[in-house]
Symmetry: D2
Subunit: 119 residues, 4 copies
């Protein structure tokens, strides 16, 4: 059984409460949340922009901790966005994995980064 | 009890298998995954760019389904990125929520979108 | 006649010299520059994420100055990226405007934010 | 002497006319334009996400043409955004180059991608 904090649903509930406590639902329109998510994704990508592949795979401890929190920021805004849209994030993930499995059959995509529509 | 697919850890395992089956670990360097995440966040934000707040909160069914899959794309790349970095995403989320609770005490941040360093 | 600083070509030359002086061409691979551009676009969007339309159109002086510099950051990385790719940015802009004029004829797109493929 | 299309100011005028002709100023709020810019930056970064540095520096002709148009998209939305904000993009670029020259003196930053606040 997954531990409590591992559940997207439990994080969703916790974040909804966090926003309600601060009267932040007025700001949490999906448009704004999509922007916040894009901003956090931008901060995440900045950490890697000048790194070699080897450096990116071996972040110094301090950078790694910053990146960890950027990852969390992306997740938290994504969960809030999905919540406000009424999207079940876990179900959407399962659906997308199934679609990807169909678009990228092992035989055709093995060892290739080619986009499905060019395979 | 959360259903199986609700667990970040189970999604992580599933995606690691998906990549291994296709010999995609060679492409899944954290630098590349951070880029892929930023790209998906860009696609997500595009869906909302010309919408009013009301329209964003009431997406037509077809758009909503596209947005649902974009949300999934962000989540899937985020899980892969965290996995390759050795970051426990659920733990990072809990840590960040605790930090946010300290940075945004209810009394100071109620009804305000002001960034913590300007509160 | 445009003033000196108004020219994309003159900015390109100035930035190429700036990078050469610092021996930064080793970092200015197109992949890295595209990431840097995405990062700056993320910072730009963050300034607007919680604002109403009216607030966004009437930024306080201090925010406006920050946004001005974020706009500059996007432009500078874009010019560097185009330079390293051998892309003539001004010519590309003209080409894209012509394409947009064909995709969005006035009669069909007047007053509508609909994407060309759904017009 | 720069050719006509090389001027940011001339592009600004052309795009303002393009938007006016289509009655698009109603959509071109700075918030929306910042989102559109972030979306285009996301599309740009996607082209590079699975590439090695060598591949990124040697795009196949077809990809290069797509990337060229993505670069144009970023520029066009940036010019529109600056216009709606009343920002003089060329002046902002000059200002930022001067700031960067102060933050990254040649002696300290030569051959290093370190951010100025960690130099």
């Amino acid at each position: 059984m997954p531990k409590r904090t591992d559940s997207l649903e439990m994080l969703r509930v916790k974040l909804a409460q966090f926003a309600a406590d601060r009267d932040w639902n007025q700001f949490h329109n999906p448009k704004n949340l999509a922007m916040a998510l894009a901003g956090e994704a931008g901060e995440l990508v900045e950490h890697f922009q000048w790194l070699t592949f080897e450096e990116a795979a071996n972040l110094p401890r301090g950078v790694r901790e910053e990146v960890e929190l950027e990852c969390a920021d992306v997740l938290l805004f994504l969960i809030r966005l999905a919540d406000k849209l009424g999207v079940d994030l876990a179900a959407a993930a399962e659906k997308k994995i199934a679609l990807n499995a169909a678009k990228y059959p092992v035989a055709k995509s093995k060892g290739r980064a080619t986009k499905y529509n060019k395979l």
